[in-house]
């Protein structure tokens, strides 16, 4: 069964190579990439079933035993992340295929798009199974370099401008991560995550703190945690809609995943718990206030993305099994819902030629299907019962109430406020873009709306196009998954709890990698 683990990285890379060779033959390219992602999906389902039964799988690459060789570790958290990422990547791929075929690919040159997308997938999967800090760095680099290409695809002015910000910020975070790896190697003489965890206790607490803070800053930039989140709303909205959707769903979550590993295995004991609580509070509140001020749907969604990262940091900062379980559930929920909303924003853009809520209206009558596809995930993200967003937030607040302190209560309050403001921001989009009759759009003026800013570089070329069936179907599939998360919340939450149990103290992880003990 361990032989399956490298497949989740190998298959997308083979798919990327195949797509590159297929080059000019679009249909073949699409088939190759879809088959590769479906295969990864099947492998991750098998892995999840196996891992949930046995606890975890460890693969020693090349047959070299743990401290010398590289290990790939799949525990319940990794398997769950693999399966959700594979599903999201597949849905977004189908969406972009539908969009590309209809648009004639003027802005997304297909011969580069598919291979790059598969490399991005390989990077994401690699980061989730890395049992070695340097391998994690490699996973980050693979996905980041692929994301640079996807972000600047087409090479238009706004994309280059946004791309430069994104790339320079990501480079700084990568270099910080590399420098922390160097310092960890200098202090501990290893980069194996399990072995670091064992040796960490031997070094001076102040050195530990330095390494801890450096890693958190490096991952915090990737996860877009306040105050390291400024780059995200500036860069994400300019990319093509499917690219933004997959970035929003997955890339920040890889950062959150790395933070979970840092806090539970590398530096257990929650030394920075209070600082993380404050950061979580600020991320939520500052992020959502940004969203409320936006008139452009894609920018608004980018700000909600930043703000909802705060919930995950809240769960991690508590450091309890309940908090971690709730965070894992929330990550799964948020990956699905945020991606769906960005896909819907792509549909809105096609339908009405703009994503500015000042300029569009009457979509409920014009495109009732899109309205439904927006309404369900919007309520879900806003945390309306009975959707999974509500369940996730409730679980987080419950976990918070178990360890009462004024700081935790403050974060819970901020979380409730953020939830309401999310609902407000998304409901405003609903009122303006969908509910408002189309003929009011011209006359509607308001001092408040004049002040709101619009995203740069939107084009009105595609005005009035109806959306291809494949795009609608892919988005509907994502909405169906998000509803399924609600319907099957019980089993999913049980699985998250078991994954959270696994993270309770580093000994579980260390025992996996070193079944015979560390020398």
């Amino acid at each position: 069964m361990t032989a399956l683990i490298p497949l989740v990285v190998m298959l997308p890379l083979i798919g990327a190579a195949g797509a590159l060779i297929a080059g000019k033959r679009q249909r073949l390219q699409v088939i190759v990439t879809v088959v590769a992602l479906v295969a990864v999906m099947v492998v991750s389902i098998v892995l999840l079933i196996d891992v949930d039964a046995t606890g975890a799988l460890v693969m020693e690459v090349g047959g070299w035993a743990a401290p010398v060789g590289i290990v790939l570790v799949v525990d319940r958290l990794s398997a769950l992340m693999l399966i959700v990422s594979a599903a999201v990547l597949l849905a977004v791929l189908l969406f972009s295929v539908g969009q590309g075929m209809a648009d004639g690919d003027s802005e997304t040159p297909v011969s580069i798009y598919h291979p790059t997308y598969m490399v991005l997938a390989a990077g994401v999967f690699n980061a989730f199974i890395a049992g070695d800090l340097f391998n994690l760095y490699i996973g980050f680099e693979i996905l980041l370099v692929a994301s640079y290409v996807l972000m600047t695809m087409g090479g238009t002015g706004p994309r280059i401008r946004a791309g430069v910000t994104y790339i320079v910020v990501s480079l700084v975070s990568s270099l910080l991560f590399l420098a922390s790896i160097a310092m960890i190697y200098g202090a501990l003489g290893t980069v194996n995550i399990a072995q670091i965890s064992v040796r960490m206790a031997e070094i001076h607490p102040s050195v530990q703190l330095t390494l801890h803070v450096m890693l958190l800053i490096a991952f915090g930039i990737k996860a877009a945690i306040f105050p390291l989140s400024f780059w995200l709303p500036d860069s994400y909205p300019t990319a093509p809609a499917p690219v933004t959707a997959v970035f929003a769903g997955l890339l920040t979550k890889v950062g959150v995943y790395a933070i979970i590993r840092t806090e539970t295995i590398l530096f257990p004991g929650n030394a920075l718990g209070d600082a993380l609580l404050v950061v979580a509070l600020l991320t939520m509140v500052v992020g959502i206030l940004g969203a409320v001020a936006q008139a452009d749907i894609k920018r608004l969604l980018s700000f909600t993305l930043v703000s909802h990262i705060g919930y995950m940091i809240f769960g991690i900062a508590m450091g309890t099994v309940a908090g971690l379980s709730a965070t894992i559930f929330y990550i799964v929920h948020h990956i699905v819902v945020q991606t769906t909303l960005f896909l819907t924003a792509g549909l809105i853009e096609r339908q009405s030629g703009s994503t500015s809520i000042n300029r569009i209206g009457g979509l409920l009558a014009a495109a009732p299907v899109i309205a439904v596809l927006y309404f369900i995930p919007a309520l879900n993200l806003g945390g309306i019962p009975p959707f999974s967003g509500f369940i996730g937030k409730l679980a987080l607040f419950n976990a918070g109430a178990e360890q009462p302190s004024w700081l935790v209560y403050a974060v819970i309050g901020a979380g409730a406020l953020t939830s309401l403001l999310t609902l407000y921001a998304l409901a405003r989009v609903w009122n303006m873009a969908f509910w408002r009759p189309a003929d009011e759009v011209e006359q509607y003026e308001s001092a408040l709306l004049d002040q709101l800013t619009e995203a740069p570089g939107e084009n009105n070329d595609s005005e009035g196009k109806s959306s291809p069936t494949l795009m609608i179907a892919a988005t509907a599939g994502m909405v169906a998954i998000s509803v399924a998360l609600t319907v099957f919340a019980g089993p999913l939450y049980a699985l998250s709890s078991r994954a959270g149990e696994n993270l309770n103290g580093p000994s579980n992880y260390v025992d996996l990698v070193f079944p015979e003990g560390v020398e």
């Binding site: 370099v145 640079y148 600047t152 430069v164 590399l178 160097a182 200098g186 001092a447 995203a455 740069p456």
Partner: protein, 155 residues
């Protein structure tokens, strides 16, 4: 084994000049800064690997302590390859940006400019209120702001 002081000083100089260059607006300088910081990080890895030693495996009858640690060198090789690829991409990006705008400087963010202009306009109107100007769109907002200003003056 001891660490060469020279390498540490070199690393410090490269880090500081690299960070300085990365803060510049000119994109070419940002790339140069990135190269400096990247190579400074490589030196950091080298320094963290310990001091000088003979090449591993080949030492005739040498003890383990005499060997150099090969693992950081493998890290550095990987990091060099990544830095190389990313710099190539950055240069292509700069070239594209140059083709588009004939300027090497990073453009201002349009969102930031819009906010700055709006604030400046409101400020301007506040300082030189024009009673005959009825065309202003944000009249309500201006009068509200004026009232606030007057209140402030009264206090």
């Amino acid at each position: 084994m001891s660490v060469t002081l020279l390498l540490v000083i070199l690393m410090g100089v490269m880090y500081s000049s690299g960070v300085y260059l990365m803060l510049e607006r000119s994109m070419t300088r940002v790339v140069l800064g990135f190269l400096l910081v990247g190579n400074a990080t490589n030196i950091l890895i080298l320094v963290m690997g310990g001091g000088r030693g003979i090449a591993p495996i080949l030492g005739d009858g040498a003890s383990v302590e005499d060997f150099n640690d090969p693992l950081p060198q493998a890290f550095i090789l990987t990091a060099i390859v990544i830095t190389f690829g990313v710099s190539a991409f950055l240069l292509a990006l700069i070239y594209r940006s140059w083709r588009l705008s004939r300027a090497d400087e990073l453009e201002d963010d349009p969102e930031d400019l819009a906010i700055a202009e709006r604030d400046a306009a409101v400020e301007e109107e506040l300082q030189h209120p024009d009673p005959h100007d009825t065309e202003v769109d944000h009249l309500d907002e201006l009068s509200a702001a004026q009232e606030l200003g007057e209140k402030g003056e009264e206090e």
